[in-house]
């Protein structure tokens, strides 16, 4: 099942204020046809506002919303042809699952036989083909969100909008449904905007991740790039864990951290007298030490996380705590109290601003 109507979306210079609070400040985003973009950010960063403006549910804003070359800013929500899945369970309680999925076709006056056939196809697609006659409250949370997804897809939307659809679900169901959403999105090929505050979710599902903060899109790039080459310190600190390590600037493009030379990323100059470099836990490794050196540290805690173990060490030079991630098998040789040397494997680092 694929849709023929793959469309591009351009949000240009969106600005939205609530009283004195700026929810979106000159927000711009391009989404290619069939692409899945995730907007990632903390609560209140404006990601849901952007999605609601695209859906037409928030109308009092500035800027352009261009879908397939046409500005739809003045088109009401019910005429935008956008499927939406909400964070809260939103099935219509008096309708059966099949009636819920067929609802968008019913209001478009598609005849009953056709709309029920289409609804059944979509229920099969989301793996709930046998549950068409149930009421919403008779389903689990995960099943309700699958039905909501089927309902959103039933109208063959130009754009699929997912507003934190997994956040009310438990961890196992969330992972399962996340993979389902990705599979279905690839299968139907609908241009999709996914809003979440969960980094892992965004990284796992999106073709590109847009990191937002205070109403501004800080970076929008493939997940690997956002993680490995964050555009700025704000993105680096928000996405994944980060160690702050004291650095000495040697030249415009290099610095030393605990005696080790590391390249400095171009745009990360700082005016601070005591600059701090940002290094991810997996960009550090440990070796057992026999003597004290500038990068010597003492292990004081090990946290087993399944395939990985997070080791907390205290630097002997300045008592700073660092976190090191390594495969659990490799971490077996370390115990609390071990004297270790910390090695940095980052090709380049950013400086905290």
């Amino acid at each position: 099942m694929t849709t023929e109507n793959r469309v591009s979306v351009q949000l240009k210079g969106l600005r939205k204020v609530y009283g004195d609070a700026v929810a979106l400040a000159d927000f711009s985003l391009d989404i290619a046809p069939g692409e899945l973009v995730a907007l990632l950010g903390p609560s209140g960063c404006g990601k849901t506002t952007a999605l609601r403006i695209l859906a037409g549910l928030d109308t009092d804003h500035q800027g352009q919303i261009i879908v397939n070359g046409k500005d739809i800013a003045s088109v009401p929500a019910n005429k935008r042809n956008m499927g939406m899945v909400f964070q809260a369970y939103s099935l219509f309680p008096t309708m059966t699952v099949l009636e819920n999925v067929a609802y968008g076709l019913r209001v478009r006056k598609v005849d009953k036989e056709k709309r029920n056939k289409k609804a059944q196809e979509l229920l099969d697609l989301v793996g709930l083909g046998e549950m068409g006659s149930r009421l919403g409250h008779q389903l689990s949370g995960g099943q309700q969100q699958r039905v909501a997804l089927a309902r959103a897809l039933a109208i063959q939307p130009n754009v699929l909008l997912l507003d934190e659809p997994l956040s009310a679900l438990d961890a196992q169901v969330r992972t399962q449904l996340r993979d389902e959403i990705k599979r279905i999105q690839i299968e139907v090929g609908t241009t999709t905007l996914f809003v979440t505050h969960d980094q892992e979710e965004a990284m796992a599902i999106a073709d590109r991740v847009g990191v937002m903060r205070h109403g501004v899109l800080e970076q929008c790039a493939p997940p690997q790039e956002v993680y490995l080459n964050p555009a700025n310190v704000k993105v680096a600190k928000f996405v994944g864990a980060m160690n702050l390590m004291p650095a000495q600037i040697i030249s415009s493009d290099s610095l030393k951290i605990y005696g080790q030379s590391v390249a400095l990323r171009g745009s990360s100059a700082t005016s601070s007298k005591d600059p701090l470099a940002l290094v991810r836990p997996e960009q550090l490794s440990l070796t057992m030490a026999t003597s004290q050196g500038p990068a010597s540290a003492t292990v004081f805690n090990l946290t087993f996380l399944g395939p990985l173990t997070r080791i907390s060490v205290r630097m002997n030079a300045d008592a700073r705590t660092l976190f090191v991630s390594m495969p659990s098998a490799a971490a077996l040789e370390f115990v609390a109290g071990s004297l270790v040397d910390v090695q940095i494997h980052a090709t380049s680092v950013l400086l905290d601003s």
Binding site: N78, F92, T94, V107, Q138
Partner: protein, 259 residues
């Protein structure tokens, strides 16, 4: 969790039941009397059914009740939905306006009709419906407001709008079915008030079912009691229909779902 009733609860329950039921039983027994109280039969009820004013006036009151119920729904459902969705700043004002009929004497409404209503409306009995809508506002507002407060209205409306529904389709297909019991309550209140209202009808010189009962009771007391019992039973039937119909609909859907 079910709470177990103790002896004092039973005493209160029995006293309340007796207080409510004994007058009804007495009225029913009274309405069956004939032959100057020497025998009991259905003659008083038979008289009612054959009295020409019965059907005419009941018909007038039923049409007034229907018009009132429709007008209440058309006026109140979209208004209260709007208050819940985005018009919260108007809520206190609307609530106040809806409560005003409680403290305004009915005679004021009757006098107001002469200056406020257009002439063509004053020449028809249906002018009463407009007044019934006003005097039922305190009750219907509360019933619908409570119903809408108990559902995730914004999410349901947005989900419906995002599916392509107009606001009218959203109200008809999603909102009203979801608050069916509140709507039923509001309709029942409007209907009950319309069927039982007496003062306005008398003051504005219209013949309705309650005014006819009052006229009948002056000359035929036993028939009037029979009428009252009949009205009460009729009202209970309406209540039971409103109360049980949605439940049976729900249970049939649920059974279908779980089969």
């Amino acid at each position: 969790m079910k709470q177990k009733l103790n002896i004092s609860n039973y005493i209160v329950l029995l006293a309340a039941t007796a207080f409510f039921v004994f007058p009804l039983i007495a009225a029913f027994e009274f309405s069956l009397r004939s032959n100057q109280g020497k025998s009991h039969d259905w003659s008083n009820y038979q008289w009612i059914l054959h009295e020409p004013g019965f059907r005419t006036n009941l018909g007038v009151s039923m049409r007034l009740a229907l018009l009132t119920a429709v007008a209440v729904l058309v006026l109140m459902v979209p208004t209260i939905v709007y208050l819940h969705l985005g018009g919260a700043r108007w809520k206190r004002l609307v609530e106040f306006v809806c409560l005003v009929p409680l403290v305004v004497p009915v005679i004021s409404f009757a006098l107001g009709v002469g200056t406020a209503f257009p002439t063509f409306l004053q020449s028809t009995v249906y002018e009463l419906s407009f007044l019934y809508v006003i005097i039922s506002l305190p009750y219907t507002y509360r019933a619908l407001d409570v119903g809408l407060s108990s559902i995730p209205l914004l999410t349901l409306v947005e989900a419906s709008r995002a599916s392509g529904a107009t606001m009218r389709q959203t109200l008809v297909f999603v909102v009203i079915p979801t608050i069916r019991s509140a709507v039923n309550g509001a309709v029942f209140l409007a209907v009950a008030l319309s069927l039982g209202e007496f003062t306005l009808a008398v003051l504005l010189h219209w013949d309705t079912f309650p005014t006819w009962i009052a006229n009948v009771s002056q000359g035929h007391i036993l028939n009037a009691i029979a009428l009252s019992v009949l009205s009460l039973v009729g009202a209970w039937v309406v209540v039971m229909i409103f109360a049980l119909a949605p439940k049976s609909l729900r249970s049939s859907k649920s059974q279908e779902a779980t089969s």
